[in-house]
C-alpha cells in the first residue's frame, strides 16, 4: 500500500484552503529549506496499516497558521495556541490520509515536537512519501511514514528520547 504524492497534495491543499484560508503551493524543497528550529505535528496510525503523518514547518509558519485559525490580527498566538493549531492541522491531514489506507486503522491524538529537523524522527519508521509546500513563501513539508517493525513509533529526537513531545490540551 502506498500513499501517492498527488493524494497528499490534494488533501493538504483542501485543508489549507478550508482551515487557513490560504493556498498550499508546490515548493521545490531541500534539506536546507527548513534550517534551524522546526515544529513537527504528528499523528500515528495503528491497526491494519501502521505509520505516521507529520507536518514540519518553521516556528514562523506555525505562528502564522495559528493566527489564521484563531482569527488573530493584532496579537501573536501563544505557544499553546501555536501547538494546538499545528496539531490540529496534522490531525485533519492525517485523518484524511488514514481514509486512503486499507483495513481498520486508528488515529492517535496529535502531538507536537520542537527542535532541529535532523534531530526529530518517528522511531522505527521510514518516510514513504514527502511533499514540500509553501504558503506565502514559507516552506513546510508533509510526510507519510510507515513503520519498520512492530515497535511503537513515538515522535522522538535522534537519540531516542522524546523531544518535548506534548499531548495537546
Amino acid at each position: 500500500m502506498s500513499v501517492e504524492e498527488r493524494q497528499i497534495r490534494e488533501i493538504t491543499e483542501s485543508v489549507w484552503s478550508s482551515m487557513l484560508g490560504s493556498s498550499a503551493d508546490a515548493f521545490d524543497g531541500s534539506d536546507t529549506a527548513l534550517d534551524g528550529t522546526v515544529l513537527t505535528g504528528c499523528v500515528h496510525v495503528t491497526g491494519a496499516w501502521e505509520g505516521a503523518v507529520t507536518i514540519c514547518c518553521s516556528p514562523l509558519f506555525a505562528r502564522a497558521a495559528a493566527a489564521a485559525m484563531f482569527g488573530l490580527e493584532d496579537t501573536e498566538p501563544s505557544r499553546e495556541e501555536t501547538r494546538d493549531a499545528l496539531g490540529e492541522l496534522a490531525n485533519v491531514v492525517g485523518g484524511n490520509i488514514k481514509a486512503l489506507l486499507p483495513g481498520t486503522t486508528h488515529l492517535s491524538l496529535p502531538t507536537v515536537a520542537e527542535g532541529n529537523r535532523s534531530d526529530i524522527s518517528v522511531t522505527d519508521s521510514r518516510p514513504m512519501c514527502t511533499v514540500w509546500f509553501a504558503t506565502a513563501g514559507e516552506p513546510f513539508m508533509v510526510t507519510v511514514l510507515t513503520r519498520r517493525n512492530g515497535a511503537r513509533a513515538p515522535l522522538s529526537s535522534g537519540n531516542g528520547h522524546a523531544l518535548r513531545e506534548e499531548r495537546l490540551p
Partner: protein
C-alpha cells in the same frame, strides 16, 4: 436554540463556531466542551438541540459519549465532526446513535446541509 460544540482543539472549536455563524447560527446559541466527559455534564444539566462532536478526544471520546447518550434515552441529535470519514467510521457512528458524520475540512455549505434539516430551518 442551543448547540454544543465538542472538540479538544481550541482552534477547531473556533473554526466550527465561525463556520456555524457563517451558516446563520447566532453566536450566543453555541456552547463548547473540550472532551466527552465535560460535554456529558453539560448535556445532563442543560437542553440542547444539536451536538457537534469530534471523535478522537482525551478523557472521553466522541464515540463513547454518543454511546452513553443513546443508552440514557431521549437523545439530542448527535453529529460527528471528524477528520476520519471512512465508511467504517460512518457505520460506527450510526450504530452508536449518531445522525451522521461531517468530515473535516468543511465549509458553511456542508455544515448547513446537515444541520438545517435537523434544526428544522
Amino acid at each position: 436554540m442551543n448547540i454544543l460544540v465538542i472538540d479538544d482543539s481550541k482552534a477547531m472549536r473556533l473554526i466550527v463556531r465561525r463556520t456555524l455563524r457563517q451558516a446563520g447560527i447566532p453566536d450566543d446559541a453555541i456552547q463548547e466542551a473540550t472532551n466527552g466527559a465535560e460535554a456529558l455534564k453539560s448535556l445532563r444539566q442543560g437542553t440542547f438541540d444539536l451536538v457537534l462532536s469530534d471523535w478522537n478526544m482525551p478523557e472521553m471520546s466522541g464515540i463513547d459519549l454518543c454511546t452513553t447518550l443513546t443508552s440514557e434515552g431521549p437523545k439530542v441529535p448527535f453529529v460527528f465532526v471528524t477528520s476520519e470519514g471512512s465508511q467504517e467510521m460512518r457505520d460506527r457512528a450510526r450504530s452508536a446513535g449518531a445522525v451522521t458524520l461531517i468530515t473535516k475540512p468543511f465549509n458553511a455549505e456542508s455544515i448547513r446541509s446537515v444541520i438545517d434539516p435537523i434544526l428544522g430551518r
